[in-house]
């Protein structure tokens, strides 16, 4: 009996459960509950099932190199996805445009099993920073390629996408504008504020206290309160409307996200600046640098990794929170999520939720790599 790699046994259990459960839901239309269809009922299904099962079970012994594990996990992910697309084009009778084929528990468990296998293999591979970037780019390119190939066009989520292609593009732009715009504003305001409380110690308590309290206001309420507050500002402060202040649309959501982003930016600026060793500062002063030069050429560059860590926190948080903008008419992927919840059309919910998750995931991983890069550069 060969030695087993325990995580692989867990993945195999999850994956085999996925193979046993229905791969897709076949529904007469987009609202009604459907019936599950297993992998075995599809053309070539039994063979694919055998292959996936073998890949899961054979991965259990501990003797495989990480590269082989990675390759088999990626192949498993691709196979599960292609079978989903195949089921969607094969199951509905010809000419029936109402029937929907949605991914079901079996598909999600397979994705989970092979996704965990990818994460485990990458962990064991210990790739260099450059290689990690290549892997991330490869994963994004692969996903984009499969989506663009049209192989998944029959799947319910893609059908929802097809009927609102233009709207999706606009909401995606709005979502990105909300997440990145609020991040930019928070950096513009938060870094100077962080520098200010670094230099004036007695402002620290009050500033961080207020920002902490802002953070405890539930997002739903903060978004909601921005509407009347900004509407009042736009109506009473001269010139505010011309400057773009408005109580409706995207603006209130942008301000709410900005307020949530301030605490991480300000507190990390402070932590990064405070973390610079005193001898380094003194050496810079001894070289005859002015206060401003010390800040710009010594302190801020050394605080960069901690600042980037704040950018990661804020960006991931805002990509998620921007969904709530959909509730107050601020646009973004949340529009689809809440519309879908309202119509109990889960395919529409997925159309909003999946891109949000993908965006947060890619942004999180990319910024982690960036932080690691600057850490190494600073050390």
């Amino acid at each position: 009996m060969p030695r087993l790699w325990p995580p692989a046994v867990l993945f195999a259990m999850i994956g085999l459960a996925g193979l046993a459960l229905p791969l897709v839901q076949f529904k007469a239309n987009r609202i009604v509950p459907g019936e599950g269809v297993g992998l075995a009922a599809l053309p070539h299904g039994p063979w694919v099932m055998l292959g996936l099962g073998a890949a899961l079970v054979l991965a259990c012994p501990d003797r495989w190199p990480a590269v082989a594990r990675l390759a088999s996990a990626v192949a498993g992910l691709i196979a599960a996805t292609l079978m989903l697309g195949m089921a969607a084009s094969h199951l509905p009778p010809a000419g029936n445009s109402l029937a929907r084929v949605a991914p079901a528990s079996g598909f999600w468990l397979l994705v989970l099993a092979f996704g965990l296998m990818v994460a485990d293999a990458v962990n064991r591979l210990r790739p260099s920073l450059a290689l990690r970037w290549v892997m991330l780019a490869g994963a994004v390119a692969l996903a984009a390629g499969i989506l663009a190939s049209g192989l998944l066009d029959g799947v319910s989520v893609m059908r929802e996408y097809a009927t609102r292609r233009d709207l999706f593009g606009r909401e995606a732009q709005a979502h990105l504008a909300l997440a990145f715009g609020s991040l930019g504003l928070a950096l513009l305001a938060g870094i100077p504020l962080g520098i200010a409380i670094f230099q004036v110690r007695r402002w620290r308590g009050p500033v961080l206290g207020v920002l902490n309290i802002l953070q405890t206001i539930p997002s739903l309420a903060l978004f909601g309160m921005m509407i009347p507050v900004l509407g009042w500002v736009a109506a009473t402060v001269p010139g505010a409307t011309q400057a773009g202040v408005s109580g409706i649309g995207t603006f209130p959501a942008l301000v709410a996200l900005f307020l949530y982003s301030l605490l991480p930016v300000v507190s990390n600026t402070l932590a990064g600046l405070s973390g610079v060793p005193a001898p380094t500062r003194e050496a810079a002063v001894g070289l005859g640098m002015t206060r401003a030069q010390v800040m710009a050429q010594v302190l801020l560059p050394l605080a960069l990794p901690v600042l980037l860590a704040a950018v990661r926190i804020v960006l991931v948080q805002n990509i998620g929170l921007a969904v709530i903008a959909g509730l107050i008419g601020g646009g973004g992927f949340g529009t689809f999520v809440f519309q879908g919840l309202g119509q109990t059309a889960m395919d529409l919910v997925l159309l909003g939720a999946l891109p949000t998750i993908a965006l947060a995931l890619v942004a999180g991983i990319a910024l982690d790599l960036l932080v690691q890069g600057t850490r190494r550069g600073a050390a």
Partner: protein, 244 residues
């Protein structure tokens, strides 16, 4: 001193508001338009608050037990081989937006309190697990050696040394989880869970700022109070362990 008085005052004000919301109507009247009601009366605010707190407490308790058990499993014996993977999953899991998790739980569990509980549980698992892991794995080497020298069995060591030492960090994880859950639970009302989000959403739908404000204030004060209580417990736990 003021750090103790302010939360106490906020708590008293909250209690008074929940017991007799009607007497606070004049405070909220300026935020309404066209003679709209100033206080949400569809459901009693007290029962919504209790239901909100119950959902959060249940979710936090469940994620604490599960997170702690998982952290214990991956820091000893054969479980150690899961440790790198568990760290990766925790890091990746925390990038999942809570709203998306909530929305994705609906097709599996249907509308109501169920999906909210599951989303809060899953999302709360991560901070607790991360902190419990940090508490259990970063213990000073002399402590481990002393425990072995005293002849403690692994089980005794877990209960008498490792867990008490990890308690302050575990409490910090629970605090994070509780505060996040409290805010996220309001979004649960979009999938028909009985939480204070109901008041906020009613306000959004009827453009009644007073409703939005009172829902937000109640949740905000609760969050500040809970944050405060956990922090006090953390300080006490650290003192008892002689960490301060």
């Amino acid at each position: 001193m003021i750090r103790r008085i302010l939360p106490a005052l906020a708590g008293l004000a909250l209690l008074a508001f929940l017991i007799s919301p009607g007497s606070f109507a004049p405070l909220f009247q300026p935020f309404t338009r066209n003679n709209a009601p100033a206080i949400y009366t569809q459901t009693s605010l007290l029962s919504l608050t209790l239901s909100h707190l119950a959902i959060v407490a249940l979710a936090v308790a469940a994620s604490t037990v599960a997170g702690l058990v998982l952290a214990i499993l991956v820091t000893r014996g054969a479980g150690r081989e899961f440790l790198p993977l568990a760290r990766t999953v925790t890091a990746v899991g925390q990038t999942f937006p809570p709203v998306a998790v909530l929305a994705l739980a609906v097709p599996v569990l249907g509308f109501g309190t169920g999906p909210t509980l599951v989303a809060l549980f899953l999302y709360g698992l991560l901070p607790v697990f991360e902190n419990a892991l940090a508490g259990l794995s970063n213990q000073p080497a002399p402590v481990a050696e002393a425990a072995r020298a005293m002849g403690l069995t692994p089980r005794q060591r877990l209960w008498q040394i490792d867990l008490p030492l990890a308690l302050p960090l575990l409490l910090a994880g629970m605090r994070l989880t509780a505060v996040i859950s409290l805010g996220t639970a309001t979004i649960g009302s979009t999938v028909a869970a009985r939480t204070l989000g109901e008041v906020i959403i009613a306000g959004l739908l009827s453009s009644n700022t007073a409703f939005v404000l009172q829902g937000g204030l109640v949740v905000g004060i609760l969050a500040v109070l809970i944050h405060h209580a956990f922090q006090a417990a953390e300080v006490r736990a650290r003192r008892r362990m002689g960490l301060d």
